[in-house]
Symmetry: C2
Subunit: 459 residues, 2 copies
């Protein structure tokens, strides 16, 4: 029979512990920088986070344990879609006429169509156990809100989603998806929170932003004892939960009897790419695979890692969050409306930012049209229409494969294919009909936004 | 750890031969009735089908072999999403407080989100090998056209899709999905075929029907040497290819150490349900599992199996196809526009019709609101938003589970979950907001349509 192109694990192989990269980073001399209280500029202590998060999640956020057990109830939920498949993209290789071997880990088979449920079910489980009745969150493109709505429904929690108003209006299907699971979805900014009211007073026609929606969701949790806040990316505990992706992929690459030369993913807040990359990064940091490369990709319209500043900044527009040490374009930077809504965030995960800064991870930014060119090539050769976000990773991988061809060298490329594009077909229509604008990055807007980043020394 | 709820096969377990139920039916005394030439009323000979289909597919259509090898190239393509998972729906069982054990075989993890690619890649492969440049087909809701467009792209064929105009306008995402794979999509009726012109002359504002679109796609294949026609359901070779679903499910039920008491699926043309059911039906026909029940479900608005006539009828409106022996509502019956577009077909697979007629298969029809009630219950408990078509099977299974509870008896229920509903969220919005009309079946329209069924004796 023909060569193997799919490497599957059995349901019994779902990881039973998450990998926490922070202690591995610390052992490699990359000490994590603490989040700071915006008033005192002192490191945030766990008790300050208690109104927002379940205690177990706060403990995970600051844990120095390398492995943290996955509760049985969460493994049960994971079984709905995990383990996810790892494929070799032989048809794409042939289309590119490359000596590179291209693999992709596909998270689009989850019920929400992306990697987001990996942390959503964990957060819903811990919050249910903590005794709250409801979780609040924000969503931009809708992937995160969909996943949390699904998870909340599975564990019997209420769910309140502040959906960026522009998406609320443009993506009714995502809203309906959340409502099908019983979630309450509000178009943000709303007049139901102080943060929202303030925005609406200044601009009654505001179409919202992820930063504003975060502020609203946090405010509801901070002012309601029965409600916790839930976040879909950036924080340590979120990337921790996503490590199931990379832990599976590592075993699957062993089944394929191959080792990646480069691991490529797309970065919005960093949870998808961190989830895939960190189990491999542990090998690099420990000196086992010192030459393995890591490529984080992002939209040219929101080039946080490639053009941002490494600084302490707020995670949200209303300046409610602690100050996080990360690459940032400024907490009130508003990216142009590119189709990869999940990558339109001004900041990035602190751990991932630190890895880029320390030279363990490369970053590259691509324009919309080059991203969709790669996406259509992937669809035609591999049969899967990727999410616009994931298509950034494909663009990066295609560039690597072309470089390998030009060098006449073998190269093993692992792509994080974080989701399918079934909810994003309008973007493909725009691309196929030459209607996709080449969004320019506005350095002046960034300079203005960066001027409003707090002036706090960073290690 | 907790009980097992997912039963996976490895990529090496993809079936290497398809199961052809027809010889098993014949051995059980259920002789298949031949399709007839509409002019001579004589059985159709393979040479008459040659302008439309690749020879290998015609041979499969009339084969008396019980097993037919799956080509290596097709297995390669299957590996993109096969084997598909089989789950036990323990959360749904708890929500229903039933002693029944409910399993579902989930085909929504395929690149097109349904079972349709199982036959699409096989048909694309054989057509490519036969030397034609292009395949033409029709699509209603868009699942079939999407799958064939994907398959054609994988095997380097051009693809022409006649999409029912009403869907073309209401479901732009499905059109774009096909175009992303390079397919040409035309809103049917078109003025590019004689069949389309005739319809437009009578009614310039016609929004089309599946029957009209079939006529157009067949005409293009019949009048162009470089083009073959491809069909997504009903015919023997299509159900043959879909048998991978049931062959996998049978092995997975063995892993679960359980045997279904009842196998439930939804029927439009019959390919999804036939694919799941036939490998189990073979056991019933051979007397190995004589009491295993089979439940075919359909919309009350298009109740082919429950209220149709068993007769020789055309597969299309323009009367271009051979006469097929099947349950039919009349070849020009136009079902009310229910959301389960894939189930709006006037006929059914001849083999499946025969099994219903001979009492080996039961049938039940449900209204839209009871179907979506079950769909939302399933989504909330199991995390997967089902396609409106698949939700009919869920309704049937829920009824079986409630009956088991009332009887206080165990019952093992296997559901064919043929696809996800990510492209069908408008239907959920309508249901959640009490806007889903209870479409009435119109017996007078059926009587009028049945009066136009050819008067041909049937065995």
């Amino acid at each position: 029979m023909s060569e193997r192109t799919r490497f599957d694990l059995s349901p019994d192989d779902i990881p039973t512990a998450w990998l926490n990269l922070l202690p591995v980073m610390a052992q490699a001399g990359i000490a994590p920088l603490p989040p700071l209280h915006p008033g005192t500029k002192e490191p945030v202590t766990p008790d300050l986070l208690a109104p927002l998060f379940a205690e177990a999640l706060i403990m995970q956020e600051v844990s120095t344990d390398e492995w943290i057990d996955v509760p049985g109830e969460v493994i049960d939920a994971y079984r709905l879609w995990r383990p996810t498949p790892l494929h070799r993209a032989t048809r794409l290789e042939r289309a590119l006429d490359t000596p590179a071997r291209i693999y992709f880990k596909y998270e689009g088979t989850s019920p929400a169509g992306s990697h987001k449920p990996n942390t959503a079910v964990a957060q819903a489980f811990y919050n249910k156990r903590s005794g709250v009745k409801r979780i609040s969150t924000e969503t931009g493109a809708g992937q995160w809100g969909s996943s949390l709505a699904m998870a909340a429904s599975m564990f019997g929690l209420e769910c309140l989603v502040f959906m960026v108003k522009a998406s609320f209006e443009q993506k009714p299907y995502r809203r309906i998806f959340m409502e099908t699971f019983g979630a309450e979805v509000r178009p943000s900014p709303t007049s139901t929170t102080e943060a929202g009211k303030k925005v609406l007073e200044a601009d009654p026609d505001s179409t919202g932003s992820l930063g504003i929606a975060i502020s609203e969701a946090i405010e509801v949790a901070a002012t309601n004892e029965d409600t916790h806040y839930s976040i879909g990316s950036c924080l340590n505990h979120v990337l921790l939960h996503q490590s199931v992706v990379g832990l599976e992929a590592k075993r699957q690459m062993e089944l394929a009897e191959d080792v990646p030369d480069v691991v490529v993913g797309c970065v919005g807040g960093g949870s998808n790419y961190g989830g895939l990359a960190y189990p491999f990064m542990a090998g690099r940091l420990r000196g086992e695979t010192p030459s393995m490369r890591f490529l984080a990709t992002e939209p040219a319209a929101c080039p946080t890692l490639t053009k941002g500043r490494f600084a302490y900044d707020f995670g949200d527009t209303a300046q409610l969050t602690p100050l996080l040490p990360m690459y940032t374009l400024g907490h009130d930077f508003v990216p142009a409306p590119v189709h990869a809504g999940g990558l339109r965030y001004h900041g990035d995960a602190p751990s991932l930012s630190l890895l880029v800064r320390e030279g363990h991870m490369e970053a590259a930014a691509y324009s919309q049209n080059e991203v969709f060119e790669a996406a259509v090539l992937f669809a035609k050769s591999q049969g899967i229409v990727p999410a616009p976000e994931s298509a950034h990773a494909i663009r990066g991988a295609v560039n690597e494969a072309i470089a390998a061809r030009e060098e006449g060298a073998e190269r093993v490329i692992l792509i994080g294919l974080s989701g399918h594009g079934h909810f994003d077909m309008q973007a493909y229509d725009d691309y196929l009909n030459d209607r996709l604008p080449e969004v320019e990055f506005d350095p002046e807007q960034e300079a203005a936004a960066l001027a409003r980043v707090p002036d706090v020394p960073i290690g």
